[in-house]
């Protein structure tokens, strides 16, 4: 279970210096017209803008490319199935199936939109460290329970991972080698069951410890969230970008 770290959130770029709330609001402003875009030009504009934004966030290129590849594994399926099922002018035939021009155009539109949204999320949300994200969402008025869930899930994923590895190591130390047989499946089932029980117990102990320190169902954030000029400028730019995408979509 690698990749529980959040390397993209550790930067000092222009984007990282924005208030996390502004980044989230900017994402909402930006992603709505991207999601609703019906024209290739609007979607392309979205992609270009998102790429510019990502460039400002200066993430490690290799990491972004790897994640882009994962996302586009999905869009590759769109390129296979959408043109084969959409009606229209045939580009070529695959046996009884026609690969249509209209279908291909739709697949292209979806690919552009998906990548634009993904780049924007990478630039704006992946750049927020999870604890900050929880505080920001709470400050934006999202239900507190959801924010707690997010914070605690992030915090305890590591602990559960470590617990799992410890159990697995101890099983290995006693000669366990996974094979395709009943013993292996039973061992994994017990391991997962034990992990569940232990996590449950731990959750109870943690809750008790929180009660002992006066927890009353509300998390207070220590982080000082403050809107600054840069945030206002950024939100203005996001609004303009959003308007531009809508206008370009209308004009087409």
């Amino acid at each position: 279970m690698p990749g529980l770290d959040t390397p993209l959130s550790q930067g000092r770029s222009l984007v990282h210096r924005l208030d996390p709330r502004a980044r989230l609001l900017g994402l909402v402003l930006f992603s709505l017209p991207v999601a609703l875009a019906g024209s290739l030009r609007a979607a392309l504009l979205g992609l270009v803008l998102a790429a510019l934004l990502l460039a400002l966030a200066r993430p490690p290129a290799g990491l972004v490319l790897r994640r882009l590849a994962a996302v586009n594994l999905f869009t590759a399926f769109l390129w296979v199935f959408v043109p084969l099922s959409a009606p229209g002018q045939a580009l070529f035939h695959l046996g009884p199936l026609a690969y249509t021009r209209e279908g291909a155009a739709l697949a292209l539109l979806l690919t552009l939109k998906t990548n634009a949204a993904f780049l924007a999320v990478t630039a704006l949300v992946a750049s927020i460290a999870p604890p900050e994200l929880g505080c920001a969402l709470q400050a934006l008025g999202l239900p507190e329970k959801l924010c707690h869930l997010l914070l605690m899930t992030h915090r305890y994923l590591f602990v559960i991972q470590r617990e799992y590895l410890r159990l697995l190591t101890s099983a290995r130390a006693r000669g366990f080698a996974p094979r395709t047989n009943g013993h292996t499946y039973r061992t994994y089932a017990w391991l997962l069951g034990m992990l569940l029980v232990k996590s449950w117990d731990r959750a109870e102990r943690v809750h008790q410890a929180m009660l002992c320190r006066g927890f009353k169902g509300k998390f207070y954030c220590l982080a000082d969230l403050r809107y600054q000029t840069a945030d206002a400028l950024f939100l203005g730019a996001a609004l303009l970008a959003s308007a531009a995408m809508i206008l370009v979509g209308r004009a087409a």
């Binding site: 915090r155 008790q208 929180m210 009660l211 002992c212 320190r213 006066g214 009353k216 220590l222």
Partner: protein, 241 residues
């Protein structure tokens, strides 16, 4: 008679469903400034007693008075907990925030301090414990000893009137133990400490309760470290039983 007890337990019966109660009519009183050790074999109910005092377990019978008030329900305990500092056996369970500073500020924030005051309180406490460099570290990546000290910081930051410690030195190296002893002795607080380490108890407490058969008895002899020639010499004991 000295001042009214901070913690007073009368006739406490407490246990877990489907089993005989571990505590069977237990009495306890901890007075201001009193530093008492609590000893007894594994499974005799020491942690159960501490959990009952903190209101984390519902007793079957008996009375718990904290700071002179009889505890009637969760609300009373919630109030009293803000004045009691409970150090859990596993520091791992006590630390859950993304950074050490957040964790130490958690209690003060719950006590109603403003963010600025809570942060200041947390920084002061970390300073006091020599942990100032740890403020931005992640609690679960600390060593066991460091975690224990941070856990202690999280409760000291609440400025409690009583410290309740559940095996505070188990599994720690000598240097960390010595540091905890030094810290505790530098505080003007009542302490109730569970421990299996007579040396540690002799250094921080002046009296001793032993839990046996679901009841407490106060030892006539203060805990003391000394060389023994008999078999149980390294176990907590008094010479009158």
């Amino acid at each position: 008679m000295s001042a009214a007890p901070l913690i007073e337990v009368k006739g406490l019966v407490c246990g877990y469903p489907g089993r005989n109660p571990v505590l069977r009519g237990l009495d306890l009183a901890l007075r201001p400034g009193q530093r008492a050790g609590l000893v007894g074999p594994n499974g005799c109910g020491k942690t159960t007693l501490l959990f009952a005092i903190m209101g984390l377990l519902q007793p079957q019978a008996g009375e718990i008075r904290l700071f002179g008030t009889t505890m009637q329900g969760p609300k009373d305990f919630a109030e009293a907990r803000l004045r009691l500092g409970f150090l859990f056996q596993h520091a791992d369970d006590q630390l859950f925030s993304p950074t050490v500073l957040d964790d130490v500020a958690f209690g003060p924030l719950n006590q109603g301090l403003s963010r600025r005051d809570a942060r200041k309180r947390a920084e002061e406490t970390l300073d006091l414990l020599g942990l100032a460099d740890f403020a931005q570290r992640t609690p679960y990546r600390l060593s066991g000893g460091e975690q224990k000290l941070v856990a202690l910081a999280t409760i000291l930051a609440m400025r409690p009137e009583v410290l309740i410690l559940d095996e505070p030195t188990t599994g720690l190296d000598l240097a960390t133990k010595a540091r905890i002893v030094e810290l505790l002795n530098g505080l003007d607080l009542a302490i109730l400490a569970v421990s299996h380490e007579p040396d540690f108890l002799s250094q921080i407490t002046a009296s001793l309760f032993s839990l046996r058969d679901g009841r407490l008895r106060e030892s006539a002899v203060a805990p003391h470290a000394h060389v023994h020639v008999h078999a149980e010499g390294d176990l907590p004991h008094s010479h009158d039983d």
